[in-house]
């Protein structure tokens, strides 16, 4: 469990990092918090020839509200979100989820953008990014593009990010007080990756009817998935307990679960039903 050999670069600026990425291409890898990359290298499942450590690039260490979006730079650590970074449902949801990410020491190193780039199917940030409609600002030497969350997650540990690209920033909408966000996840031990999670966001109109609904599931398939049917079933009516329960049942049937020795498919569906209902109920209880 020792890393294979690699070269190490510690650029001081974004431009320098992009130049290194351009030079190393497939062979180079960004090192952010290192909390996924380093263990993967120790297991020798990843063997990048060059590491490009972005931790000294001050311009990436940002997290700010701007034009109704929360802009999260590549060096914003998980721990930063343990207390709401913005008032309202968005900040509260991030804080709710942050405590479920690993353990305190890992949260002081691991980064929000690193989670999105790594795209573990059970990442809380990935699930939230999909639920709220995050947007990724991706840089490459001489270029920049914006990728919506819906196009970002492609497969297990696979995103739209190219080998020479840096995820410089992710942004989330700052939701208003008419939104109700919920979060629930299940794991066997505190701090473990979830076996299933649900992130829900409902906008209620003045009559108390659901005007918009988004439900994302994490840890249950190769990427986070939207439970569209379940979300749609809630529209246009008050979110009564029966309707929430019915939506949760729809969510449990509406995806292709991953299976393994410890988690059979029907169990995964049980968990999705329970987590979706709990996330929805929790969001309305407050």
């Amino acid at each position: 469990m020792k890393c294979p050999p690699f070269d190490y670069h510690a650029p001081r600026s974004q431009a320098e990092a992009l130049a290194l990425l351009a030079r190393h291409g497939e062979e180079g890898k960004i090192l952010a918090g290192g909390q996924s990359l380093v263990p993967t290298m120790a297991f020798r499942l990843a063997r990048p020839a060059s590491l490009i450590d972005i931790n000294r690039i001050a311009e990436l260490d940002t997290c700010r509200a701007e034009a109704n979006r929360l802009r999260i730079g590549a060096l914003a650590r998980h721990a930063r979100f343990e207390r709401p970074v913005v008032p309202g449902p968005t900040g509260a949801l991030l804080a709710r989820a942050a405590e479920h990410i690993a353990h305190a020491p890992i949260r002081t190193r691991g980064t929000f953008c690193g989670s999105l780039a790594h795209a573990d199917p059970a990442s809380e940030w990935c699930c939230i990014a999909l639920a709220l409609g995050a947007e990724m600002r991706v840089l490459r030497e001489g270029g920049e593009r914006l990728v919506p969350a819906a196009d970002w997650f492609q497969a297990v540990f696979t995103t739209a990010l190219g080998p020479d690209e840096l995820l410089a920033e992710a942004s989330l909408p700052i939701l208003g007080p008419d939104w109700r966000c919920g979060f629930a996840e299940f794991n066997r031990r505190a701090g473990d990756f979830a076996l299933a999670m649900a992130v829900t966001a409902l906008r209620l109109d003045v009559a108390g009817h659901v005007a918009e609904a988004r439900i994302a599931l994490g840890g249950v398939a190769g990427t986070p998935v939207l439970a569209r049917e379940a979300a749609a079933s809630l529209l246009g009516a008050p979110p009564t307990p029966d309707r929430l329960r019915a939506a949760a049942a729809l969510a449990a049937e509406g995806f292709e679960p991953t299976e393994d020795a410890q988690v059979p498919a029907d169990y995964r569906r049980d968990l999705v039903r329970a987590m979706t209902r709990r996330a929805l109920e929790g969001s309305l209880a407050a």
Partner: protein, 768 residues
């Protein structure tokens, strides 16, 4: 006087807490790194092992290099044991994924791992035997020609009255239970450092082990070297729990390297290796039938015990240790008139099994205590009353397997626990919770724990190497401090503290004046180690005997100096007293050593004594009660409360006793809910990291309440009984009973551990 019995903080702890402990890996500076190449196949024929060009200074060692090195082949002369052999490095076949096949040596662990990756292994795979059912299947691969049908142990006990008891029973309860495979997961994995001493030609092996003297004997035998040329040192050891008792192939190989290449070689096991290739335990299946009279009296028990003991037999206990302990100890603390049982060890292409805290008793207690709850339900009786009716109350009591139960408090422990748990209040809470769709449950487990047994118990098993006694050398320095050299080798049990307390009381000194020296074959007498809940009883008893002999010498010398009779001398407060007159022990010690012309006619020129202790054994006992909440939607179990009423006789240090219970219970809860080694059908381990094999974190363990009873044992010198394993023995059964109680509205019955959320959900789903 009376240091014994106090909650003295452990003298071991400050250095560990400051990070100043010295573990094997901390001592490796300057040594070359060893990496083991491990078999990627569960079963197969080795065609070739070849290395690309090795960098300068690197080495590749394979079985072909080990001409003359013997296999590990422990013996058992009973129970149809078939002696099977484990090569240090195999030449022909591999037997489990993770088996060491070759060793690479390089300057650093990183380099060694790089080289190991490039070694080409050509193996022709065979169809492996992975599960108990695989091993039993006719026509299955035979792992060892010496053990046809993969049967390594087959022990049978059958009382003639058993069938009659079942014929006249009013109620027969039948149960098949399964215990998942576990890894003891010590915080420090295995590690070894073998260093050649050019001046003397001796080798010093520093190893994270529990039995340094046995390791030395075992390695010297395999390598055909003089035992006197090998020193084995156990420095700070980060937990063992039984996993570090065995003679593993890695250690003789390190010593072989040090001898052959006249240098220092270090191997520090990584977590993946530890999880797949150290030692596993507890993979068992029991089929039980119990006969009861209508009034709840237990009439007879039948047990068919199958243990998957992996690819090889662990040295020195052999793979009989699990099934045969179950065979001998199934009757537990209950009066059992007749008993019939068969216990088999099956070899499979999986990591070998070795003892782990409690060995088979967590599984046995799970079986017995589920039976009690099931019988109570079948008979419409209160489970507490049913247990009370059957618990042994008259001591000594001889069990149907010939074990003698000494004075204990089986019924009192149960009653104290039930009172402390406040059952009526719990039942009210349970009722109220059920109305809200929440499922609370309470489970109890009563058990006894055979501890502190010496050679007679091991000899009765027919072991080729019979451990059991302990020897203690004690000496007072000319300056008056006392050195206690013990053959046992503690690694977290706090013996440095408790033995100092015992010796201090016998000698009228303070514990800080006593140094306990252990874990070094050059500096301690031959002895066995710390395992089987024996340290306080056996090393403690020997220490007490040795201290008494030293005290007698001090009294004789002091009597001469004070002009009194030896019988009139009392040792206290660091002095020898004859009435009002006294002389400091430092002065007595100085005179014995340095003014021997005054005293040597009494006992010679020193203050050194030795003592040996080899008791027959004693049974501690306990009652555990768990209160759990089961989330019926997810199958998750939360332990709200855990109560232990423990009777380990006289407590030498209650603080350390509590710690032992806490640690054991935590491992027991993990056994019940979290930890399981899993293999794919092809014999590939699925739980090779701590993301898949799940030891508990603090968040999963509730506060543990402990009530101590102190039934002193007439069978031990110190009055103490062992308790190191008890926590791990009772907790799984208590949790399983609590979950079954919680889910009684669904008719769910836990017969498989760990009771994972997925399994619990499947039970609920199928029950509906």
């Amino acid at each position: 006087m009376n240091w014994t019995g106090r909650r003295l903080p452990r003298t071991e702890d400050p250095a560990l807490l400051r990070g100043e402990g010295a573990f094997t890996a901390d001592l490796a500076a300057g040594a070359r790194a060893v990496r083991f190449l491990r078999s990627p196949y569960a079963a197969g024929r080795i065609l070739s092992i070849s290395a690309p060009d090795l960098p300068h200074g690197a080495l590749l060692v394979t079985g072909a290099d080990l001409e003359g090195v013997g296999p590990i082949r422990p013996e058992l002369f009973r129970f149809n044991y078939r002696a099977i052999s484990q090569p240090v490095l195999p030449r022909e076949r591999v037997h489990f994924v993770g088996q060491p096949m070759a060793a690479v040596v390089a300057a650093t662990p990183e380099e060694a791992e790089d080289i190991a990756e490039a070694v080409l292994l050509e193996i022709e795979p065979e169809d492996p035997v992975v599960t108990i059912d695989d091993a039993l299947r006719p026509g299955a691969l035979t792992l060892h020609p010496e053990a046809p049908g993969n049967l390594v142990v087959d022990g049978v006990i059958r009382h003639p009255g058993c069938e009659a008891a079942f014929a006249r029973a009013d109620c027969i309860v039948e149960l098949t239970l399964r215990s998942g495979r576990q890894n003891a997961t010590p915080m420090e994995a295995r590690a070894g450092l073998a260093a050649y001493d050019r001046a003397t030609g001796r080798i010093r092996l520093t190893a994270s082990c529990q039995m340094p003297h046995m390791l030395r004997t075992g390695i010297a035998t395999l390598l055909g070297m003089a035992e006197a040329d090998l020193q084995v040192v156990a420095p700070d050891v980060g937990g063992g729990f039984g996993q570090k008792m065995a003679l593993f192939p890695e250690y003789p190989l390190l010593v072989w390297l040090a001898r052959r290449h006249r240098g220092s070689f270090c191997w520090v096991e990584d977590r993946n290796e530890n999880l797949i290739a150290s030692a596993h335990s507890r993979e068992q299946r029991h089929h039980l039938r119990a006969a009861f009279a209508a009034d709840g009296t237990l009439l007879g028990l039948e047990a068919d015990i199958l243990a998957n003991t992996g690819a090889f037999s662990c040295y020195p206990t052999t793979c009989g240790v699990e099934p045969l302990m179950a065979l001998a100890e199934y009757p537990g603390p209950y009066r059992l008139p007749t008993y019939a049982a068969r216990a088999r060890a099956l070899a499979t292409n999986t990591c070998p099994a070795a003892p782990y805290r409690g060995v088979s008793r967590p599984v046995v207690t799970f079986g017995l205590e589920r039976l009690m709850d099931r019988a109570a339900a079948a008979l419409g009786m209160d489970p507490v009353a049913l247990r009370r009716r059957n618990l042994v109350t008259d001591f000594p009591h001889v069990t149907p397997t010939g074990l003698t139960l000494d004075q204990a408090s089986y019924v009192e422990a149960l009653d104290r626990a039930v009172a402390a748990a406040d059952l009526p209040a719990f039942r009210a809470r349970q009722e109220a919770a059920r109305r809200e769709g929440r499922y609370l449950g309470l489970g109890l487990a009563v058990f006894n724990e055979r501890t502190g047994y010496g050679t007679p118990a091991f000899a009765a098993r027919g072991m080729g190497i019979v451990p059991g006694y302990e020897v203690v050398d004690i000496a007072m320095t000319p300056a008056g401090e006392v050195e206690v050299r013990i053959g046992a080798s503690p690694h977290g049990q706090g013996l440095r503290t408790t033995l100092a307390q015992l010796a201090a009381d016998r000698l009228g000194l303070e514990p800080s004046q006593i140094r306990v020296i252990h874990g070094d074959t050059d500096r301690t007498p031959y002895g066995w180690g710390s395992f089987a809940s024996r340290g306080a009883v056996i090393a403690g008893g020997a220490t007490q005997l040795a201290a008494d002999k030293l005290a007698a010498r001090l009294r004789r010398a002091a009597a001469r100096l004070l002009q009194a009779e030896p019988e009139a001398i009392a040792l206290r407060d660091g002095a020898a007293w004859a009435g009002e007159a006294s002389i400091p022990l430092t002065e007595v010690a100085r005179r014995v050593h340095q003014r021997s012309e005054q005293l040597s006619d009494l006992d010679g020129f020193n203050l050194a004594e030795t003592a040996q202790y080899d008791p027959g054994g004693t049974f501690s006992n306990a009652c555990h009660i768990a209160e759990v909440e089961v989330d019926a939607e997810t199958g998750h179990v939360r332990v709200h409360r855990f109560l232990v009423v423990e009777d380990a006789g006289r407590l030498l240090n209650p603080l350390i006793a509590d710690g032992q219970v806490h640690g054991g219970v935590a491992q027991g809860i993990a056994n019940a809910l979290l930890e399981e080694v899993l293999y794919a059908a092809d014999g590939n381990p699925l739980t090779g990291s701590l993301a898949d094999y799940l030891p508990p974190s603090a968040a999963e363990i509730p506060p543990i309440e402990i009530i101590h009873l102190e039934t002193e044992s007439p069978e031990t010198l110190t009055g103490a009984k062992g308790l190191g394993e008890g926590g791990a023995i009772g907790a799984p059964a208590a949790i399983a009973n609590a979950i079954s109680d919680a889910l009684s509205p669904f008719g769910v019955d836990i017969a498989e551990l760990p009771a994972t959320p997925a399994r619990i959900r499947a039970l609920i789903r199928n029950a509906r």
